[in-house]
Structure formats: C-alpha cells, structure tokens
C-alpha cells in the first residue's frame, strides 16, 4: 500500500546537499553528546569527555525514569491544558485583530506585542505576590494562568498574521452563503488555521515544558511538581550526577518528540506560510 520512495540526490542538488550535510552534522553534534554522556558513570565521564565508553550504563536510564516518570505525568497535564487554552484564546483574539476595524485596535494590539520587551526576571516577584493573593500558590492554576498569559503575547501575534494572510474570497464566499460570523470563524477560519495552531501549540509546549523558575517558586508539593523541577534532584551543592542527569534530559524530551512527530508538518507549514513578517 505504501510506496517507498528512495531519497535520491540529483546532480543539481549535490553542492547544496553537501553544505547542508555539514551544517546538519555540526548542529546535531551536541545532541549526540547528550546521549553519549547519558550512558556514562561519573568516573567514565571524568576520564573521557567525548567518546562513548564501554560498559554502557543503561542503569542511568532506569534510575532516571523511576524518579521522574510521575513528574512527566504532571507536566503533560499542565502543558496540555496550557496549550488548549492558548489555542482557543489566541485564535479568537488573532481573528478579531486580523478581520475587524474597531476603535483602540492598534492600542490594544500594542498592549500585547510590547510585552515581548519586558525582561522576565524583573516581574518575577510582583507576579508571585499576585498569584499568591489569588490563592493559586501550590496549585496547577499558578502555572497554567501564567504560562497562558505569557504565551498569549507571541501566539496572538502569530494567529493575527496568519488570519490576515488568508484570501478575502474565502470569507466572501461564506458570507454570500449566509453564514454568521460565528460560523465563518468555526467552519472556515479555524480549519484553515490548523498549521498556525500547531505552531502556537508547539512553541507553548516547549517553553512551558522547560520552565524551571516559575514552578520552583509556586509549587512546593512534591506530588505536583513538573518535570523541570524533578530533574533538579540530579545535581546538588556537592556534586552533579552527570549520567543520570543527561539520561533524565533524554527521557524528558521523548514526549516532546512524540508531539513533534505528529505536528511537525503543520508546524513547519504554519511558520513558513510567508504570513509572518515585520
């Protein structure tokens, strides 16, 4: 049923391919190094920095997995809800900004976009006081609310650019058929915006998955900690357990890889649609 197509390199492509291969090797080298290090004990690592060394310490993976699996579950829940919320809110907001003229539109949109320029370390303490006053400390709400609002800045802008680039004829056709604005949004715009929604989901996933400092200050309960905090246990004041730490990083990126595999095509076509520009 599936016809395997061979990846053959045409003569014309050869010089370009060679440049790209060189690029790719250097880019991927650090990733290979992470995997190599994750299979070493500390002594092996100290004596031999760069090359893989026998025996491989597969035990690093079982130790790391035993400790961090429950944090992975937490992270999936937190990041998952964050993504759903952002996707909903940002597509509505992006649609409104892209398709309508209304008073104060520019001012409102600037209120979104200039937030990219506010340094995050600066707002940590005031934001924490706020979240505490809302009674959210040590609840998933503390993470999700702040991740959603932080993610909205970039996401709304991406969605707006995408909706603006959709051809007007599509909407006109729907209007002519007598569709209400709500129907146009749900049945025309959202399906068309799937690539950009994937983009928004992917960027949100990565930033929330790796965030350490915000969970660190808001979550005190061990059972509620997300993954980035779970990985903390492999390095302390006294020493770092390099092999297990790196094994933990590899394991923690597996869920990301799964999402990546599923959403890749959409993600790339969302950002390369040509709609995003200054």
């Amino acid at each position: 049923m599936f016809k395997r197509k061979r990846l053959r390199i045409a003569n014309h492509d050869l010089p370009f391919q060679m440049v790209l291969v060189a690029f790719g090797i250097v880019t991927f080298f650090p990733l290979v190094l992470v995997v190599i290090t994750s299979l070493k004990s500390n002594t092996q690592f100290y004596h031999n920095f760069w090359l893989p060394e026998l025996p491989f310490q597969f035990g690093n993976y079982s130790s790391a997995f035993r400790i961090i699996w429950r944090y992975i579950v937490n992270s999936v829940l937190y990041s998952g809800s964050t993504i759903c919320l952002i996707a909903c809110i940002a597509s509505v907001a992006g649609y409104v900004f892209a398709r309508f003229h209304f008073p104060f539109k520019t001012a409102l949109f600037l209120g979104f976009i200039t937030l990219i320029m506010v340094p995050g370390v600066l707002t940590l303490a005031p934001r924490f006081v706020l979240v505490r006053d809302l009674g959210l400390v040590n609840t998933p709400g503390a993470l999700i609310s702040v991740w959603v609002s932080g993610g909205l800045v970039l996401s709304t802008w991406l969605m707006r650019s995408y909706f603006e680039s959709l051809p007007q004829e599509l909407f006109d056709a729907a209007y002519v058929d007598g569709a209400a604005e709500r129907q146009v949004f749900f049945y025309v715009s959202v399906p068309l915006a799937r690539p950009m929604i994937a983009t928004v989901a992917m960027t949100t996933l990565i930033s929330s998955w790796n965030d350490l400092i915000w969970p660190l200050v808001t979550i005190t309960d061990k059972d509620k900690m997300p993954l980035a905090m779970g990985l903390m246990q492999f390095s302390s004041d006294f020493e770092t357990d390099w092999g297990t730490l790196f094994a933990g990083y590899v394991i923690s990126s597996i869920p990301l890889l799964c999402v990546f595999a599923v959403a890749m095509r959409q993600f790339i076509s969302g950002l390369t649609s040509g709609s995003i520009k200054a």
Binding site: S63, L124, F128, V129, L216, T220, S236
Partner: protein, 487 residues
C-alpha cells in the same frame, strides 16, 4: 436519579470541609541543604536518608504535626527562589541560611531572633550533655560569635556544621615528580608560603598545572578561603586595635572591619595591603587555566583524573567524593603560614589561620510567627539539632564536621581534624568581611588585575574606593558608631 447523586456529593463536600477544619493540623516546611534525602540512582546509590527517619520519628511523637522537607537548587535558581518566596510570604518555616545573607536581609524581620530559645534548655539533649540546661551550651561560643548579627545583637542562626578546607593532594603524582609528601609542620606540607609557591613552581616546570580551584561566584568558589587568611597574616600586628574593647582573638565582625576602614586603620594604600596583593599575584600563576570562570565540578575533575596534583576543596564534604572517585593515594594538607620570608608585615605571624567555616545553619523564618506556630517550629529545630539526632545525620552522611559538643568527627573526616585546632582567622571571606557587594566587586577587581586588564595602581585606587564606599554604606545602614576604635 442524579438528584440523589448530587445530594450525596453535597453531603460529602460539607462533611469533608468540617472534618478538615476539625483536625487542626500543623505543617512545618523545612529546607535542610545537603542533607535533603534524594532518591538513590545508579551513580549515587547511597544518598543521605537519615533526615526522613528523623522527620518520621518527630511526626510520630507529635500527632497533628507534619514536616515537609523542601528541596532548593543550589545556585542559579536558588537566589531567585529565596527572594521571591520571602517577598511573597511563602517561605519555609525553617531554612538553611548563610549568616551573611541573614545580615543582609536584617531590616526585613524575616527571621525570628532565637536569643531566648537558646538560653533555655533543649529538652531533646540528654541529661549531662552540654546543652541540656541551656541550648546555647551545645555549640561552642566561637561559632555563636561568628554568626551573631552585630547590628541588632540578635542570634538568628543555629550553626551545626563546621566547614574545614584544605589542599587535596595526589601523593602518587607528587612522588613521581620527586616531591616530598611528608608534612613539614603539623598541619601543612610546607613550612611557609614561599616554600609552597616554590614547590608548586617545580611542578609547573615539570609540565603540570599545579592547583585546581574555582574563582567564580556562580558555583561554590574556593578562592575566597585564602583571601581572608592571608590578609589576616599581613595585618597581624594591627588587628588587635580593631577589636571592640576587651575582646580576645576572634573573627572580626562586620562592624569592627567597617570601622577599621572608616577610622583609617586599614586602607588599600597601606604597604601591607600592597604586599598582600603581591602575595596573591605571585600565587596566581600556579592556578589552572580558566580558574576565573571554572565551576567546582570542572576543578574537581582535573584532580580526579590526575591532571593536577592539588585541589583546593572542602576537606569535609569533598572527602567523601574523593574517597569514592580517586584511584590514587591522596591526602589533605592545610595552607602554610605566611611568615617574614614572604613579607616583613607578617614577621610576627606564627601560624596559619582556620577558615572559620561556620557558614550555614538553620534559621526560623517569620512565617512561623505569622502562623502562630513559632514554638512548634523551634521545637522541631531543637529536636533535629540535638546531639542524638544530629549525630545520626552526620554519621549517615559525613559531609561536614558537627559543631556540637559531644559528637565525634566522623571517621571519614579525620584528616581534617588537625586543622581545627588552628586559631580562627581574624578576617573572613570578602563577603562576610564587609558586604556581599564588596565581596563580588573585590573578586572581579582581583580577576581584572590577574588577567592584566588593570595595573596595580588602578587596582589599589579601585579597592580603596570600594572599601570606603562599602564601609560607609554598612555603617550607615546599621547606624553604628565607630568610637571604640582609636585612630
């Protein structure tokens, strides 16, 4: 049908709320630093675990009290965590603290003064052991004197660990290069500073980088340790005039040092100060390449793989690590004394000085007061730090030398014992000597000098500016008077 389900649910909810109220439980959150019970891994099969048992015992003896241990990352995120949770009043009730940090944050009332508690008996210390009648007696005065806050006269920190520092050295490597590995004096390989530099120089000639150390504040950094000890030696004839009247030999507190600067008793323009800078500059070529931005782990690696024969480390906590990782013979030596062979200013100096390692201890935070459970929190602290409990913590994981009377130094740390008899250094690490900002800027200035970005003249001018400014700030903040020192 589902109306009944709704009713049951409502009932459960109300009942649950009432039951929750009735129990009236207390939860104590505590950080315990390096003794946090991590889970074992392949490479770290035996992490400290005694804290869990102690918590379980305490909870069993005190129904209704929960103790939750909180893990805090060491450096980068740790600082952000601290400020944020304190600012948001969500700090743990007991927190491991560096006393300099406590001083710095003094104006905030973030910590409960423990003065009254340490004067009272600690019920968990057995009859006849120091501390049973007066908690403070369980810990030597020299420790309390180092950590108490001069501005308020309050004692905020219960310090249960002493840090001993020293040079780890690779015996096999030194012998292979024909260097004698016998101690010349009771605590050191070398009889004086000059001999140390000469021998390390010989190693450098043989093609090795002699000493691994780190001088970056992003990690626990070790350079600091001989900064204060060597400065003490250079001012040995003057230090007495910096004391508050009637004091005996001790580690100067912030006020004494700030006032010494204010009153012109020490200045960067002194000959002794220039000699001290020279002493450090002569030593600097012995340090490994890249020490300025090196992490502790990188320095440690150099020693373990036999690339450098010396490592400046914590003779207590790092001993465990070296024991496990080194495949050569090794031992620990202390710094040699700085004597007249190095500088005329050190002519009357007889000894090296102990790096007064009482840096971290337990503080009780304002949250205990706000929640009205101060007594209970202090009670747990008394339980945890009483000799029977702390002795088990330390023998389970010998990472530091216990300060309490009646506790033996764990077998594994016996090498560090000889150093503990040395007199304490009068001048501490740059940070507690004056202020954290001084410590940071001083370190950066020294690095600029070592890497030839500035010359000696500029260094002295900048140090002078820095010292006078920070002394003024510290004195003003605490509203101290400096009348006790004569000019």
């Amino acid at each position: 049908m589902y109306r009944r389900v709704l009713l049951v649910a409502l009932f459960l909810l109300v009942f649950g709320a009432i039951a929750g109220q009735a129990q009236d439980e207390i939860t104590i959150f505590a950080t315990v630093g390096g003794y946090y019970p991590d889970e074992p891994t392949e490479n770290n099969p035996d992490p400290p675990k005694m804290m869990n048992e102690i918590v379980a015992e305490y909870e069993a003896a005190n129904p209704g009290v929960n103790v939750e241990l909180v893990d805090v990352p060491s450096n980068i995120s740790g600082d952000q965590w601290r400020s944020t949770v304190f600012n948001g009043q969500n700090e743990p009730h007991i927190i491991v603290n560096n006393y300099i940090r406590v001083w710095q944050e003094q104006g905030n009332d973030w910590y409960v003064p423990l003065n009254d508690y340490i004067e009272a008996p600690n019920p968990y210390i057995p009859e006849g052991t120091p501390g049973a009648e007066r908690w403070a007696d369980s810990i030597p005065d020299v420790v309390w004197n180092t950590t108490y806050h001069t501005g308020s006269g309050n004692q905020y920190v219960v310090t249960v660990n002493a840090v001993a520092v020293g040079f780890f050295y690779n015996i096999d490597m030194l012998e292979a290069n024909g260097i004698d590995t016998e101690f010349d004096i009771s605590y050191s390989l070398w009889e004086d500073w000059e001999t140390m530099i000469a021998e390390m120089g010989a190693i450098a000639e043989a093609g090795y980088e002699p000493l691994a150390l780190s001088m970056s504040t992003a990690t626990p950094y070790t350079y600091n340790w001989f900064d204060g000890t060597s400065l003490t030696s250079m001012y040995i004839d003057h230090i007495e005039s910096w004391w508050e009247p009637g004091a005996s030999w001790h580690a100067l507190n912030q006020r004494e040092f700030a006032c010494a600067i204010q009153n012109g008793l020490i200045s960067a323009h002194d000959d002794a100060f220039a000699d001290w800078l020279g002493l450090l500059a002569d030593f600097e070529p012995m340090w490994v390449d890249g020490y300025a931005t090196m992490t502790w782990d990188e320095a440690y690696r150099l020693f373990i793989t036999g690339e450098t024969p010396f490592l400046l480390g914590n003779a207590a906590s790092n001993t465990l690590q070296v024991n496990r990782d080194a495949d050569f013979n090794w031992s620990v030596s202390y710094f040699p004394p700085v004597t007249e062979t190095t500088s005329p200013h050190a002519a009357n100096n007889e000894s090296a000085y102990l790096v007064g390692g009482f840096t971290s201890g337990f503080t009780v935070t304002d949250r205990a007061r706000r929640e009205g459970i101060e007594e209970q929190v202090v009670d747990f602290l008394m339980y945890m730090t009483a000799q029977p409990q702390w002795g088990r913590v330390v023998s389970d994981s010998p990472r530091s030398i216990p300060t309490q009377y009646g506790l033996d130094v764990p077998e594994a740390l016996s090498a560090a014992l000889a150093f503990l008899d040395l007199p304490i250094r009068a001048l501490k690490d740059p940070d507690p000597r004056l202020s954290r900002r001084y410590g940071e800027d001083h370190r950066r200035l020294m690095q600029e000098y070592f890497t030839d970005q500035i010359d000696l003249e500029t260094l002295i001018a900048e140090e002078d500016r820095l010292m006078t400014r920070e002394a003024r700030v510290v004195i003003a903040e605490n509203e101290w008077s400096c009348d006790f020192q004569m000019e």
